[in-house]
Amino acid sequence: MDMTVRLQVFEGPLDLLLHLLEKNKVNIYDIPIVEITAQYLEYIAEMKRQDLNVVSEFLVMAATLIDIKSRMLLPAKEEDAEEEEDPRAELVQQLLEYKMYKCMAYELRDLQIDAERVLFKEPTIPPEIADYEEPVDLAELVSDVTLAKLNDIFKSIMKKQADKVDPVRSKFGKIEKEEVSLSERMSYLEEYCLTHSRFSFRNLLEAQTGKMEIIVTFLAVLELMKVGKIFISQEKTFDDIQIQSRIAA
């Protein structure tokens, strides 16, 4: 699908936006926000099908566009229409700045092409001179750096590390395809209920192999309870929970 190829060209939301403006041959200062928003959303809807990770960066811009669109659709009050800033102003500024650097990037590329035609020379230091080596004076180099300072530096780096890491989210690991689905678990439980009119919640969980299975099974129990397909009871706090099937065999 040619969409795939085209989508990968965009370096980011601003890049995509600039592309849309150029494609529509519209002025950057007078963005037809309604059309552009629609087109932008179309693109990211297509993207979503490809790679959710990439899309996240584009979604913020989508929200901004929609916000601008809604603000522009609102009728401006007569009296303050003059002073009121165009809702697009900030976006225009951002687009302009981005476009400027994109433009400078091309200039840099030209400079680089010229500069590549210049060759340098490896040092050819005669051995008599090369053999002479000024030793690094470590005492002077280290001079006022103390161990305590080194320790402080290390601590602040490690602290920065810890700050960076969201203690909860960092443990989530990669988002993987859910291996046990809730609906799957539910139908499994329903089937089980057909043959077992009463069973232990603890035994049920113990029969599960992984953490994910336990969690999903637990959710399935809650769900079936809600729809009234099972009934649960517990004698005392911390006692085993008994599950009763309400599904007729």
């Binding site: 007078d30 102003a89 400078m104 680089q112 500069a115 590549e116 060759l119 340098f120």
Partner: protein, 189 residues
């Protein structure tokens, strides 16, 4: 010792070292002050522009380096090997141009301009020695500050970052006027 021989010494130094040599070091070697040394090198640079000479001296942020003239390239490449160069993708170039014009700059500021995260690009540029850390910003989290290197100047053939092509002053002005006319916007670029 007359001036002429200073030139010979500087020539020998720049030739031998191959790499860039700071003005300070050259001045110390020839036992002249920096100003005098700079003047001599300036004269040499002019003299080297003679088309009968195939090499030239370039200035890089207060250091000097000898290199071939670009007109010689087509002949040179028949014998000499082109040093391995890094291919700069659009992302890398965009990031590099932001760093070049806005240095010192943090990752977050770059991301704000590009609208996308830039970790990978910045790391690659550091790896290619086009960008380096300039220290940390005195702000919460003490983020790293980045700037361009001497290798950047060399690779793009500019003497110093002040010599980078100007951010199209004409265009900026045009933009501003248009905008002011159209939506009464205050531009701050």
């Amino acid at each position: 010792m007359e001036n002429k021989n200073y030139e010979a010494i500087i020539e020998a130094i720049l030739f031998t070292m191959g790499e860039s040599v700071e003005l300070e070091k050259i001045a110390a070697a020839i036992e002249l002050d920096k100003k005098e040394t700079k003047a001599i090198i300036g004269r040499m640079m002019e003299h080297y522009e003679d088309p009968a000479i195939g090499i030239r001296i370039i200035e890089l942020d207060g250091a000097y380096q000898m290199c071939t003239k670009s007109e010689m390239y087509e002949y040179l490449i028949r014998i000499a090997k082109q040093p391995k160069k890094h291919v700069l993708t659009d992302v890398l170039l965009e990031t590099l141009s932001i760093i070049a014009y806005k240095q010192p700059i943090t990752r977050v500021e770059i991301e704000k301009i590009r609208g996308v995260s830039c970790d990978h690009a910045v790391n690659k540029l550091v790896e290619y020695n086009l960008v380096c850390e300039l220290g940390r910003l005195d702000a919460p989290g003490r983020p790293l500050l980045f700037g361009t290197t001497e290798e950047f100047l060399r690779s793009f053939g500019v003497q110093s970052i002040d010599e980078l092509p100007v951010l199209n002053p004409v265009q900026v002005e045009e933009f501003k006027q248009e905008v002011e006319a159209e939506i009464n916007l205050k531009m701050d670029i």
